[in-house]
């Protein structure tokens, strides 16, 4: 499996990442994009702000990719997570996999985003329209 992993303050270039996956010559590509939602439980969000642990965040994503590659025959995968301010309607995370058939593409893509949310040292802070800000409640990575 070939892969592209990046934590970046830049906006996510989905076209370029899709091209990278398409060039794999597989038969199926599944992509998940996480974007900043405007309304959560009736409160209006202006932006999310993300912080990532240097080096460790990429390392953990690599591990998740290795775990996925053991479960499904992946040809290529791309995972990019943005840091800093992400306004409403913009993407904070791109997860994409290229495989031979659709079934493993769907399964692997789902696994990758679920594991990323449970394990990768990234934190989001939510800024609301009323000017208030708070850290989004997270989960303690298992394995201690």
């Amino acid at each position: 499996m070939e892969s592209l992993v990046k934590i970046t303050p830049d906006s996510i270039d989905s076209d370029r990442l899709l091209a990278y996956l398409t060039e794999s010559e597989g038969g199926a590509i599944d992509i998940f994009l996480g974007t900043t939602r405007r309304f959560t439980a009736g409160r209006e969000t202006v932006s999310l702000s993300y912080e990532a642990a240097p080096n460790l965040a990429e390392k953990e994503i690599q591990k998740i990719l290795s775990d996925a590659a053991r479960k499904w025959p992946l040809i290529r995968a791309a995972i990019v997570h943005r840091t800093g301010l992400v306004p409403v309607n913009e993407a904070s995370v791109f997860i994409g996999v290229a495989t031979e058939h659709r079934s493993e593409a769907f399964s692997a893509c789902r696994f990758l985003i679920d594991e990323l949310k449970k394990r990768v040292p990234i934190w989001k802070r939510e800024k609301f329209c009323d000017g208030s800000e708070e850290w989004v409640q997270g989960v303690t990575p298992s394995g201690d």
């Binding site: 990768v120 934190w123 989001k124 409640q137």
Partner: protein
């Protein structure tokens, strides 16, 4: 042994700083390190039950002995919320 501690997200905010150094005894485990951090920054005490320790390379287990030469920098990882 001196070890450099890095805090993230709400821990950094609560403590008012991102990095500091602590002295730990030879043979200290990750749990010992967290206890020391709690003594130094009592404001973090409530959070420390829900953190993971890590090096910049990988997550560590709190029962493991910390080798300050192999791991001169420790991350304290509060509950994660990426995605």
């Amino acid at each position: 042994m001196t070890i450099r501690i890095t805090l993230f997200a709400m821990l950094k905010e609560e403590a008012g700083l991102a990095n500091f150094e602590i002295d730990i005894a030879e043979g200290s485990t990750g749990a010992d390190v967290l206890r020391e951090v709690g003594k130094l920054y009592p404001v973090l005490s409530d959070y420390l039950a829900y953190v993971r320790l890590a090096s910049p390379e990988k997550y560590l287990r709190t029962r493991d002995v910390i080798d300050a030469i192999a791991t001169p920098e420790l991350y304290i990882i509060p509950p994660v919320s990426g995605g």
